[in-house]
C-alpha cells in the first residue's frame, strides 16, 4: 500500500465523490486497516445523528440543510448513494467497529455558502490542468478522463494513481479562502483523532482536492489538539437546520455547472453492483429497451454495429472493456442517421436543450435512471410539518372553517400571505374562492374555503424538502419554479404576482437574475408585454402587497423594456393585420419609460431611436410602424404625423397603421389642432367606395382605441371640417339598423352600376 500513511498510522484517501472505483478502494482499505477512527468529509454538526443517517434507508438520500439570517439564505444538499465513497466509509467503518466522525464544517457555514451540493466536483478550481490532461490523453472532458484513468482500469495501484492525479491537480492551483478554512478545520479533527487513537490506524476519506493539504497540515504534531474540535454554531439570530430527505438519481444528475459531480448515476450504480463490463451491457440494453417502448426503430443489426463500434473504440482508447463513453459513442454512431442539432451532452458536459435527438434523449435518461430513495419510517419528520401547524395556529386559521379576509387590515394580510404560501407549496387545506388576480381590478378582500385532503401530511413532508420553515420552503419552491419555467414569461409573470401575494418582496437575487435572464430570451412580444404590464403595475401601485418600488421588479422592468425594444425591431411582415397583443406590449413599454424611466434609468433615447427606425422601416408591419410613431410622440418627440400618414395611406394599411398610432398616442392625436385628423379625413374622402370598404374594418378597430369621450372629440373635429351643426354625439349614433343601411348601400351600388353600364350616368355620388 503506497497511499501516504502519516506518522501515527493516519491513512489519507483522496476520492472523487460518487465514484464507484473510489468506493471500492475505501471498502478494501477499511477491511485491511480495521481503523479505530474513520473520518469523513461531511457536516460535523451531524455527528450526533449518525444513527439516524445510517438507519435502514433506501438510497439515495441526502442531508438537506437550510440556513437563514438577516443577510443570507442558503440551502444545500449532501447526497449519498450506495456507491458514494463517504457512505461506504461510514457503513464499512461501522461494521469493523470504528468510531465515525464527519470532519467538515456544517453546510450553513459561510465557507460553504456558494455550494448547493457539498459533494460537487472541485474541478473548476483546476480547469486548466484538466484541460491539458484531456488534450494529452485525447479525451473530451473531465468525466471521460476520469473513466479512462480510474473507473474502467484495473484496481491495482488505484490508490497511487489517485494520489498522483490529485497531487498534480492540487499542485497547479491555489486553494481559495473557503477551502483553506475547511482544510484547517478538517486537519484539527485529524490531529485529534490521531492522538486519541494512540497508534491505532485512522482512516481519513476526503475529496482528492483536499488530501494534499491535509497531509501537509497534519505532518507535525503540535500536541495541542487533544479534544475534538468544537462544532461551529450558527449565529444566535440565524436559523439553521439539517434533516434527511429522500433523494433521487434524477436530482443527483440535475446539478449543472459548478455544482455538478459525477454524472449518470444509474450507470455507476451498475458499475458498483456488477462491475464495468456488465454495466456497459446493461446500458446498451436499457437504451434499446427505452427506444423500443418509444416506438423508435432499433434493429438487431444496429445493436451489433453499436456493440462492435463500442468494442473498437475501447480498443482504440486502450480500455480493457467498453466504458461509459465508449458505449455511448458506439450507440450514437450506430443509431443516429441524421445531422444532430446540438453537441452530444457527454462530450460537452452540458444539459439537453429542447430539440435534442430522441436517441440522445433516451440515452441520457437511461444513464440517469429513475431510482428514488426512501427514508426509514422512524426518521424524524422535517421541521416544516411542525412549522405549518404552528403557523396555522398562530394565525388562528382553522382547517375546517372558511376564512374571510380584508387585506387592508394588517392581521388579515399576514393570514392571507400564509395561505398563499401554503398554496404555492401545494399543501392542501384551503382553496381561494376570490381575491386579487393578475390583470383584474384590485380587489381588497379574499375568501378561502376549506378543502380537506387525506394526503395532506404526505404533501407537507414532501414540501419539507424545500426547507424547514414555511418561509424557507416557499422561497425555495419559487426559485425552483422560476428555474423550471425557463423562458415562459407568461407563467413567470404569474409567479411574480404570486410572490407579491405571498409577501416575499425580498426574494433573492438569484430569482431576480433568473427572471431577468428569461426575459432576455423571450421571443413572443405579446407575452413579454403582458409580463411587463404586470410588473409595472406592481412596481407603481402595489402598496397593499408591499411590492411598490422594489428593486427586483425594477430590474425586471428594465430588462423587459430592453427586450421588448429588441423584439419590436425584428418583426417583419408588410401586410399583417393589426395585432392588439403586440400593441399592448408597446403601450407597456411607453408606460414603463414614462412612469418608471427616471427612477430606473431606462434608456429613453434608445427607445426613441428604435421607434424612429421602426416607424421609417417599410418592411415593418403597418401597425407597428404606427405604434412606433405613437411611442415617439407620446414620449415627447413630436413627429410629422400628417406626413407619415400619407406614406401609409393605402386602403389595406391605413387602418392598421392608425390602430398602432392610436394605441400609443391617442391623447396626443386629439389634443391641439389635431392636424392628423384633418389629413385622415382628407384621405378617406378621396377613397373610392370599394377602397373604403377594404379599409373600413381596420379603421373601425383603430378608432375602437378611443374611449367615448374622446370619440366625441374626434367627431367634433370632423364636424368642424365639414361645417355641420348637429351636436357631435349625433354623429356617433346611428338610428337605423346597420344591416338595413348596408342593404340600402348595396341596392344603391347596383343601381349605380346599371346606370353606368347603360351610359345613363357617369357622375360621382357626392
Amino acid at each position: 500500500m503506497s497511499t501516504v500513511e502519516a506518522p501515527g498510522g493516519v491513512t489519507f484517501l483522496g476520492v472523487r465523490h460518487h465514484s464507484p472505483a473510489c468506493a471500492r478502494l475505501v471498502a478494501a482499505t477499511v477491511a485491511r486497516l480495521r481503523p479505530a477512527y474513520v473520518l469523513v468529509e461531511g457536516p460535523a454538526d451531524l455527528n450526533g445523528r449518525m444513527d439516524e443517517l445510517l438507519g435502514d434507508h433506501e438510497l439515495p438520500i441526502a442531508v438537506f440543510t437550510a440556513h437563514r439570517d438577516g443577510t443570507r439564505r442558503h440551502a444545500s444538499w449532501s447526497p449519498f448513494c450506495a456507491y458514494s465513497p463517504e457512505w461506504v466509509a461510514l457503513t464499512a467503518g461501522r461494521q469493523v467497529g470504528a468510531q465515525l466522525r464527519f470532519i467538515d464544517l456544517p453546510a450553513w457555514h459561510p465557507a460553504l455558502s456558494g455550494r448547493a451540493n457539498r459533494y460537487a466536483d472541485a474541478d473548476q478550481r483546476y480547469a486548466e490542468a484538466v484541460r491539458r490532461l484531456c488534450a494529452t490523453l485525447a479525451v473530451d472532458n473531465v468525466d471521460a478522463l476520469w473513466d479512462h484513468l480510474f473507473e474502467i482500469g484495473p484496481d491495482d495501484g488505484l490508490a497511487e494513481r489517485l494520489d498522483t492525479y490529485f497531487d498534480v491537480l492540487r499542485g497547479e492551483s491555489a486553494a481559495g479562502e473557503d477551502d483553506t478554512a475547511r482544510e484547517a478545520y478538517m486537519a484539527r479533527w485529524v490531529r485529534a483523532a490521531r492522538r486519541r487513537a494512540a497508534g491505532r490506524p485512522v482512516l481519513v476519506v476526503t475529496g482528492g482536492f483536499h488530501r494534499p493539504a491535509l497531509v501537509r497540515l497534519t505532518a507535525g504534531d503540535d500536541g495541542a489538539d487533544d479534544d475534538w474540535p468544537e462544532v461551529p454554531a450558527p449565529a444566535p439570530d440565524a436559523v439553521a437546520g439539517s434533516y434527511l430527505v429522500p433523494y433521487s438519481f434524477r436530482r443527483l444528475d440535475a446539478f449543472v455547472g459548478y455544482q455538478s459531480g459525477m454524472p449518470s448515476p444509474a450507470y455507476y450504480q451498475r458499475v458498483w453492483e456488477d462491475g464495468p463490463r456488465r454495466a456497459a451491457e446493461a446500458l446498451t440494453e436499457a437504451v434499446a429497451a427505452r427506444l423500443r417502448t418509444r416506438r423508435q426503430h432499433v434493429s438487431t443489426a444496429d445493436l451489433i454495429a453499436a456493440r462492435s463500434m463500442a468494442g473498437g473504440l475501447a480498443r482504440l482508447r486502450g480500455h480493457a472493456h467498453p466504458g461509459r463513453v465508449d458505449v455511448l459513442d458506439g450507440l450514437v454512431s450506430a443509431l443516429v442517421t441524421d445531422a444532430l442539432d446540438q453537441p452530444l451532452p457527454w462530450a460537452t458536459r452540458g444539459t439537453l436543450a429542447p430539440g435534442a435527438h430522441p436517441v440522445v434523449v433516451e440515452m441520457v435518461a437511461a444513464l440517469s435512471g429513475d431510482r428514488v430513495g426512501r427514508l426509514h419510517p422512524d426518521t424524524p419528520l422535517p421541521p416544516l410539518v411542525h412549522d405549518v401547524d404552528a403557523e396555522l395556529a398562530r394565525h388562528r386559521i382553522d382547517p375546517h372553517e372558511a376564512v374571510e379576509l380584508d387585506l387592508t387590515v394588517a392581521g388579515d394580510l399576514t393570514r392571507s400571505r400564509l395561505l398563499h404560501r401554503l398554496r404555492l407549496l401545494d399543501v392542501p387545506g384551503h382553496v381561494r374562492e376570490r381575491g386579487p388576480r393578475v390583470g383584474a381590478d384590485a380587489l381588497l378582500t379574499e375568501r378561502w374555503s376549506p378543502a380537506p385532503s387525506a394526503d395532506r401530511l404526505a404533501r407537507v413532508i414532501e414540501a419539507g424538502g424545500y426547507g424547514p420553515t414555511v418561509l424557507d420552503a416557499v422561497t425555495a419552491r419559487i426559485e425552483e419554479r422560476v428555474t423550471l419555467l425557463g423562458a415562459d414569461v407568461d407563467a413567470l409573470a404569474t409567479t411574480l404576482f404570486d410572490t407579491a401575494l405571498a409577501g416575499l418582496p425580498e426574494h433573492s437575487t438569484r430569482t431576480l437574475t433568473a427572471i431577468a435572464r428569461a426575459t432576455g430570451s423571450v421571443t413572443d412580444l405579446r407575452a413579454l408585454g403582458r409580463a411587463l404590464a404586470v410588473a409595472l403595475a406592481l412596481w407603481r401601485h402595489d402598496r397593499l402587497l408591499g411590492s411598490a418600488g422594489t428593486a427586483p421588479l425594477g430590474a425586471l422592468i428594465t430588462a423587459a423594456v430592453r427586450r421588448a425594444l429588441w423584439l419590436v425591431e425584428g418583426v417583419r411582415a408588410t401586410a399583417a393585420p393589426a395585432d392588439p397583443g403586440r400593441l399592448t406590449a408597446l403601450v407597456a413599454v411607453r408606460d414603463a419609460v414614462r412612469h418608471a424611466g427616471p427612477a430606473l434609468g431606462l434608456d429613453r433615447d434608445g427607445a426613441l431611436a428604435v421607434a424612429g427606425r421602426v416607424a421609417a422601416d417599410p418592411a415593418a408591419p403597418p401597425d407597428l410602424r404606427g405604434a412606433a410613431l405613437g411611442l415617439a410622440w407620446s414620449l415627447g418627440d413630436v413627429p410629422d404625423a400628417a406626413r407619415a400618414v400619407r406614406a401609409v395611406a393605402a386602403p389595406d394599411t391605413l387602418g392598421d397603421w392608425l390602430s398602432g398610432l392610436f394605441a400609443l398616442a391617442r391623447e396626443e392625436v386629439v389634443s391641439g389642432d389635431a392636424a392628423l385628423l384633418t389629413v385622415v379625413d382628407e384621405l378617406l374622402a378621396a377613397m373610392g367606395a370599394y377602397d373604403f370598404l377594404v379599409a373600413l374594418p381596420a379603421l373601425r378597430q383603430a378608432f375602437g382605441w378611443f374611449p367615448p369621450r374622446e370619440r366625441a372629440e374626434v367627431a367634433r373635429h370632423v364636424q368642424a371640417l365639414h361645417g355641420g351643426d348637429a351636436p357631435p354625439s349625433d354623429l356617433l349614433r346611428l338610428d337605423a339598423d346597420p344591416l338595413l343601411v348596408a342593404a340600402a348601400r348595396a341596392v344603391e351600388e347596383r343601381v349605380d352600376a346599371v346606370l353606368t353600364r347603360e351610359g345613363l350616368w357617369e357622375g360621382d355620388r357626392t
Binding site: 484531456c134 494529452t136 485525447a138 479525451v139 473530451d140 471521460a144 443489426a301 454495429a305 462492435s308 463500434m309 473498437g312 473504440l313 480498443r315 482504440l316 482508447r317 463513453v325 459513442d329 450514437v332 454512431s333 450506430a334 443516429v336 442517421t337 441524421d338 445531422a339 444532430l340 446540438q342 453537441p343 452530444l344 462530450a347 460537452t348 423562458a487 435572464r517 432576455g520 430570451s521 423571450v522 421571443t523 427586450r563 425594444l565 429588441w566 425591431e569 425584428g570 417583419r572 434608445g606 431611436a609 428604435v610 427606425r613 418592411a619
Partner: protein, 376 residues
C-alpha cells in the same frame, strides 16, 4: 478481377503537386506521416497505412512527437470516425458549412490510405460515370469492351486499390446517383456488366471505405434513402465551442493569409475578438449575456470569420497602410455576412444598433459608431 494494376495509379504522383497552391494533405504533412508510420507499433487494420492510434495522433497532434494539431474539435469525434472507417460502414460527416468537414475527410483519408485524392465532388450534374467508371470511347468502338478501354473513376479505383474514397457534398447529387454507392458499401463489390468473365466483378480490397460529407444548409441528409443512410455512420461536426480556441484559430489563419498577401501589419487582436464574438453570436442566435436573437441565414462559420479578418486587414493596409479598423470591419461584414440578403442585412443592422451599443470596450464602441457604413 480486372486488369487494373493496384500500384500503378495511386503511387504515381505528378511532380506538379509539389508546387501546387495547396498540395494534398499527404504531401503537406509527408514528414509527419512518415515519422508516425516509422514509430507505429500498434496493430493496423488490414489495408491501413497507420494504426488507429497513430491516425488519431496525426489529426489531433502530439506535442511530444512534434505532430501538429490539425483539427479543432472533440477528440471523441475523431475516435468514432476512425473506428467507423475500420468497420463495414462508411463515414458520413454532416454539419453546417465551414466546420472543416472537408479538411477532416482529407486528413482521415491521408492517414488511413496515404492518399486523399480519390475525391468525387458531388453536384447537381454528377453522374454515375464520374463516380464508378466510364469508357475510352475510341478504344471501346475499336476493340469492344475490355479492361483496356475502361476508365476508372474514384470509386472503382478506391475499391481496386484498397483506398479511402472521399465523396464531397453527397447530398447535392440526385438521389438515384447517390444510390450507386449501395452495393459497393454493403456487398463491397462493383459490377461492370459490360465486361465478360471475371472482369465483370470488382471486389473491394481491404482498406477501401467511403467518407462522405454533407452540409445541413443545402439539401440536408433527410432526403437520402434509408437504405443508403443505414450504410453510413453519421458524425455531426459542430462549430468550435469556445471563444478562446476560435479566436486563436482565426488569428493564426488570418495572420498567415495576410502575410501571404504581402500585408506587414498583423491583425489587431481586440478587433478580432469583436469579429469572432459577433460571428459566434450571429451564428448561434444567443448573445454572451444570454439574450436570444435571430440567427443570420448566411453561413457564419469560422472559415468566413477568417476571410472577413483577411479582408479587413487588406483594406486597412492597402488603403491606408495600417491594420484594419472597426470601420473596415463593418464594411466587410456587410459583404461577407449579409451577402445580398436584405433580411440578413436588417438583422445585422439591428445587431449593430442594439446589441453592440451595450458592450464596453473601445473596439465595440468603434464598431457601433461605424454602423452607418452598412449599405441600405
Amino acid at each position: 478481377m480486372t486488369a487494373l494494376d493496384p500500384t500503378a495509379e495511386g503511387a504515381r504522383r505528378p511532380p506538379a503537386v509539389e508546387r501546387a497552391q495547396r498540395p494534398p494533405a499527404e504531401v503537406r504533412y509527408a514528414d509527419e506521416l512518415a515519422a508516425l508510420a516509422a514509430n507505429d507499433s500498434d496493430p493496423r487494420p488490414p489495408g491501413w497505412r497507420l494504426s488507429l492510434r497513430a491516425a488519431r495522433r496525426f489529426i489531433l497532434g502530439d506535442q511530444a512527437a512534434g505532430i501538429r494539431r490539425k483539427f479543432v474539435g472533440d477528440p471523441s469525434l475523431i475516435d468514432r470516425a476512425l473506428v467507423a472507417l475500420a468497420t463495414s460502414r462508411g463515414l458520413m460527416l454532416v454539419g453546417e458549412p465551414g466546420t472543416a468537414k472537408s479538411l477532416l475527410s482529407e486528413l482521415l483519408a491521408a492517414a488511413v490510405s496515404g492518399d486523399s485524392t480519390l475525391t468525387i465532388q458531388g453536384g447537381a450534374a454528377t453522374t454515375e460515370d464520374q463516380i464508378r467508371y466510364s469508357w475510352n470511347y475510341a478504344l471501346l468502338v475499336a476493340d469492344g469492351p475490355s479492361p483496356r478501354a475502361l476508365v476508372p473513376a474514384p470509386l472503382l479505383r478506391g475499391m481496386a486499390e484498397g483506398r479511402v474514397v472521399r465523396f464531397e457534398e453527397i447530398t447535392r447529387c440526385p438521389l438515384e446517383v447517390q444510390d450507386c454507392l449501395l452495393s459497393p458499401l454493403s456487398d463491397r463489390v462493383l459490377a461492370i456488366s459490360e465486361l465478360p468473365g471475371a472482369d465483370a466483378m470488382v471486389f473491394a480490397r481491404e482498406g477501401f471505405n467511403v467518407i462522405a460529407t454533407a452540409n445541413t444548409r443545402d439539401r440536408g441528409v433527410n432526403e437520402m434513402s434509408a437504405a443508403l443512410k443505414r450504410r453510413f455512420n453519421f458524425e455531426t461536426v459542430f462549430p468550435i465551442p469556445d471563444l478562446g480556441t476560435e479566436l486563436e484559430l482565426v488569428e493564426a489563419e488570418a495572420g498567415e493569409l495576410l502575410r501571404r498577401s504581402g500585408v506587414a501589419a498583423p491583425p489587431r487582436r481586440d478587433l478580432l475578438e469583436v469579429l469572432v464574438t459577433t460571428f459566434r453570436e450571429l451564428r448561434t442566435g444567443i448573445t454572451e449575456r444570454g439574450d436570444a436573437m435571430e440567427r443570420l441565414s448566411a453561413v457564419m462559420s469560422t472559415a468566413e470569420a477568417v476571410s472577413v479578418a483577411h479582408a479587413v486587414g487588406l483594406r486597412g493596409w492597402f488603403l491606408r497602410g495600417e491594420p484594419g479598423d472597426a470601420a473596415d470591419l463593418v464594411a466587410c461584414l456587410a459583404g461577407t455576412a449579409a451577402k445580398d440578403d436584405a433580411e440578413d442585412l436588417a438583422r445585422l443592422r439591428r445587431y449593430l444598433e442594439q446589441q453592440v451599443s451595450r458592450r464596453s470596450g473601445a473596439q465595440w464602441r468603434a464598431v457601433h459608431d461605424a454602423r452607418h457604413l452598412l449599405p441600405g
